[in-house]
Amino acid sequence: MAVTTSPERDIVATPMQRATREALYAGAIALGLFVLFIGLRTDQNISNELILVQRWWLLAVVVVLTMAGRFLYVAYGQPFLANQKIVDVATGLLPQSMAARFFRLPYFIAAVVTVAVLVFLAGSLDGLLGPGLAGYARFLRALATIYALASVMFYFRTFIHAHFSALGITALALYPIIVVLVLAVYGGSVAAGFQGSLKWVDNYGIQILIYVMLAWGLNIVVGLAGLLDLGYVAFYAVGAYAYALLGTQYGLSFWILLPAAGAMAAFWGVLLGFPVLRLRGDYLAIVTLAFGEIIRLVLINWREVTNGSAGISGIPKVTFFGLMSFNVSDPNYIAKVLDIATSSAYYKIFLYYLILGLCLLTAFVTIRLRRMPVGRAWEALREDEIACRSLGINTTTTKLTAFATGAMFGGFAGSFFAARQGFVSPESFIFLESAIILAIVVLGGMGSLVGIAVAAMVMIGGTEVLRELDFLKQVFGPDFTPELYRMLLFGMAMVIVMLWKPRGFVGSREPTAFLKERRAVSGSFTKEGHG
């Protein structure tokens, strides 16, 4: 061993030899790791006894796959990556980038043709190929679509980079319209378009935007002020219950309750802020985590008010600014007023634009605040609290405003959530939610609105996509439910992104003021904060 790992031997060893050796190591590690996880499984037999199921073949497959992966990476991947950095002797140029080789016009045309053919055949796929192959065909279609879109983005990358925010907002604003139009064309009628859009607007659009808003709210506390808050979901819960209780008990409208819920959450933010002001780092994180749990336990146990774990149902819907309602039985139901066909999609589309508006409000306020003294003080607090005090900044009020502002947006999101679901229960506000929101903030790059939005799209959208991968049932058997691997994928994605971009998708920081030119500050100079 000592000989083989010595540097001299390393230089002599060809990639093949090294790859073989490393593949063996990787196999041994995988075997050691998985022998109990995968090789053995406890189960119950018919007479309810605990039995040990042995799955050696599965273990073998996993170990062999690991070895193959390591072998390929060391034998071909590493030399390839190294070659990317070597200049061609004849031309003096670096080899074409990976992306330029991956996105090529012929491939693009092939992808478009594939999509077109498969869309054209969509109805008759099952008949032509049988249900098994049809699943694969749909998956292929999805891949080809993604490839085609990615190629388009690749060709226009400089333009997209330059106008990212404007393009993003436009795309988000047009999203429901495009979905409805595409599905209407596809399904052959407008009604089918609306009906089919439900899933896309609700599960993808609204769901992702709620997380975008929550992550942007938490970004103020964690990303700007550098205060690690593990109990953010508590403010989400306060907002949701404030809307649910006041809405069901007093019949107040959403437009009154939205600010009320925000104010309530901000109040609780200040309340939490006071005791934790003197804490920093790990201690702050633990206390905020406890605060989140306390709120959840109060919601469960204070039955007279919150109806315990059964939750509150029958929460009134949002009205269209009091002009139109989305209840079929109301006289001013939107379909009656506008004289169109009844559909539940209108409400979803309305909610989509509502949450989009709330998100844009959050972004606007955050951008505005960052350029004001209070926002700069937040960032200065993250960088160095002692220096802040030496400059006469009241760190107490600065921290409290950060907590309150972040909590307020959490409260807005909470009241929106209650209105969308029509039902709230403590189960929606578990610690895992806080962890996911925090993970999105960290993945996106602390402080960066664009990065966080992209991270939310990838993480939440990605887990939703898992539901679509039904064809995997054909591979792994009918028991296989891809959704259950959500958290596994979430974790893997985090590890990969953190290895590849330790500061998140957008690691740099936009300065809030400039004398000559605005230059992004590299992430290596910014601090994460200690409290």
């Binding site: 004001m372 003294p373 002692i386 005090r389 030496s390 400059l391 004398l515 500050v521």
Partner: protein, 384 residues
């Protein structure tokens, strides 16, 4: 500025009977001195003498165990600094400071660093954020003015070309200048600088001197300066206070202090030739012997520790539980006192051999000559 005014208000800062104890360690004991308005007052002393602790008391990072710190502002108002909360000292009493281990907002640009320093002014102008959020015009003018002020100080500190770079990207000397510029952006009447020349090369040191003289002459800001670099101290300060083991051992004009035998004994901070002459004047061979042993690296912090020392509060508590008492006899100055009080011995310059003095005193005599053995330190006990 108000040099003509000989009243009490002539003193911008009065320190009276200041004591600071950490557990049993007396970091400052019964210190009194004054810093006059419009002057540069230097606070010098060997490592661990308690200079930074004095600053921390003045700027509210520590609450003194005893004593009174009075700050007299130009408009006639006075503040008792020991009673003000930490962040109100810069805001109301107009005292700004820099840190021995530089504390910049390294992920923010130079300009942003200087804008953060104008926080309180801008906060008021933005109607505590509310008006600013709606694009109130008063805030916009205030914001433009604050950028002008920042540009002014960036120019003074010769950093205007790098205004849009992150502060963490600057070389060390520029970071020191930026920290001073940032402190000046708070509009202080008293500026406390903790070893601003530490780690600077001679050229940067000259530039720093020029900057400090400029501040003194053109803004009317009084300066309180901790410095080990005697070239800087002697050149620019109007008044020098010398500390050793938390006690004041000398106080006066740079020249007076430089020739004070107690200071020389405590703190080898003058040119070698000067030591020679002074020692000949004083004529104490024992002192020379003591000095010949050179700095004792086993005692006291090494010279690099002060730059990289952690945050102020990180050092709090390390003496908890143990009772450290500094014997009065440990003081070199005390020994000089004791000996000169005794019968005068014949001076013998030939034996002094000052030229053989170790060159360890060269880097501005960063390290103090501390007693080696308890017996040694007890020898001069019972002074004062």
């Amino acid at each position: 500025m108000s040099d003509a005014n000989p009243s009490v208000n002539d003193a911008i800062l009065q320190v009276e009977h200041l004591s600071m104890k950490f557990g049993g360690l007396v970091a400052i004991g019964d210190l009194s001195f004054q810093a006059r308005r419009g002057e540069i007052t230097a606070l010098i002393g060997p490592n661990g003498a308690g200079k930074t602790t004095v600053f921390n008391c003045i700027t509210g990072f520590y609450k003194p165990s005893e004593g009174m710190l009075t700050l007299n502002r130009r408009d006639g108002s006075s503040y008792l600094l020991e009673r003000l909360p930490n962040h109100e000292i810069p805001a109301r009493a107009k005292v700004a400071r820099t840190f021995q281990n530089i504390r910049l907002f390294s992920g923010m640009t130079l300009l942003e660093n200087l804008l953060v320093a104008q926080h309180n002014k801008l906060m008021k102008a933005s109607g505590y954020t509310v008006l600013g959020l709606f694009g109130f015009s008063g805030y916009r003018t205030a914001s433009a003015e604050s950028i002008d002020l920042a540009r002014h100080w960036l120019e003074k500190a010769d950093l205007v070309d790098r205004a849009d770079d992150p502060a963490g990207d600057l070389p060390y000397g520029a970071q020191r200048r930026l920290e001073i510029a940032r402190a000046m952006c708070t509009g202080p009447e008293l500026l406390c600088l903790d070893e601003p020349a530490a780690g600077l090369n001679p050229k940067e040191s000259m530039a720093l001197n020029a900057l400090l003289m400029d501040i003194k002459d053109n803004t009317g800001t009084s300066i309180l300066l901790i410095e080990h670099d005697m070239a800087v101290v002697m050149q620019i300060s109007d008044h020098v206070v010398v500390l050793e083991y938390g006690r004041k051992i000398s106080d006066g004009s740079p020249h007076a202090v430089r020739t004070d035998p107690r200071v020389i004994a405590a703190y080898l901070g003058v040119e070698d030739e000067d030591v020679e002459t002074v020692l000949i004047e004083v004529g104490d061979e024992d002192v020379i012997e003591q000095l010949d042993t050179g700095p004792d690296s086993t005692h006291g912090p090494d010279s690099s520790s002060s730059y990289f020392a952690g945050p102020v509060i990180d050092t709090v508590g390390h003496s908890e539980g143990e009772r450290v008492t500094v014997s009065k006899g440990a003081s070199k100055a005390g020994q000089v006192d004791a000996r000169s009080g005794a019968a005068a011995r014949p001076a013998s310059p030939a034996e002094a051999k000052p030229t053989e003095k170790p060159s360890a005193t060269k880097p501005a005599a960063k390290a103090p000559a501390k007693p080696k053995t308890p017996g040694d330190s007890n020898r001069g006990g019972g002074n004062e």
